[in-house]
Assembly symmetry: C2
Homo-oligomer: 199 residues x 2
Amino acid sequence: MSTVSTPPPGLSASPIAPPRRDAEATKATILRAARHLMARHAHADITLKAIADRAGVSAPLILKYFGNKDALFGRVMSFETDAAALLDAPLDQLGPHMVRQVLVGQTERGADPVLRIIFAPRQGDQGDVMRANFRTQVSDRLALRLSGPDADLRAELAVGTLLGLGAMYGIARGTRLRATAIEDIVDRYGPTVQALLTP
Amino acid sequence: MSTVSTPPPGLSASPIAPPRRDAEATKATILRAARHLMARHAHADITLKAIADRAGVSAPLILKYFGNKDALFGRVMSFETDAAALLDAPLDQLGPHMVRQVLVGQTERGADPVLRIIFAPRQGDQGDVMRANFRTQVSDRLALRLSGPDADLRAELAVGTLLGLGAMYGIARGTRLRATAIEDIVDRYGPTVQALLTP
């Protein structure tokens, strides 16, 4: 009998240590489970066991990967990794790239790069930590890429267009949006975002 | 001693019946209190007393105005009144008008006309009621105003830009956005929305 707990679907079990790629996939599964629960409950009410159950892993495995619950929520409330991918395009193509990142995140990874900021009101003091992270890791970082008048304002508005797209797709579940191919949405909405970046 | 309960701040007390204008203001205060709580708790966990306490009215007054808790939440989950005001402009000025409605709602009324759709994930089955209302009362109604290709898609994307503006202003609390005069934001973001309505 293997000494490791049941692996989540799609990950192969190993009695020694999972390959690095699988460990990263498991971490991502755990983060996704924690984010799912944070969308529905206050941070203080979410147990490690609830996260483990949803992720299909054991609580000790979460501790092994993240140290403790606070450290896990620190990762959940950080936008650092997502922002790096979100902003990874030349400025003149950044609008369409960001739109694609939001849609691919929602459809393929079940995780929008920025939308979880909307759960801040439920999280008390932790909500302010999320807001500060969001500002420095997303909006301010985008603003640094922009030139011309009102760059800070345009950066916040551009991030707003992405939040709105994610909310319309993933929360309001707009029927037309969800019936449209990603690249067609990119063609339609990319220029909307781009016009705020390079007016 | 008056037989009516303590009125909310800014409303004059009357021993008979409040003037119609004050009754409307009180109803709005009650709806705002219910929406505030729905942003933070599941609908099933919100008591009439909690709404009454937050609104500064008595629970019986809420029953007098709305009938029962379900009817009150029916109002909270409807976008009918807000959508009417949101869409009340000629098509060629609708983008700036909607942007202004979102910002004035947030700053002066403490109530965004559309943003509460983002609380749907917390509300279980009621969330689907909100989504259906949102679709028929907001997105579909806007789509009927539009002509040209992809009108339904453009309507959902335009509503998305408004959700994103509200989320960036009221939830992420973008510092530059909140430091900018409403009309300056309208000047900057109105054309973004308008370009989706009349491309």
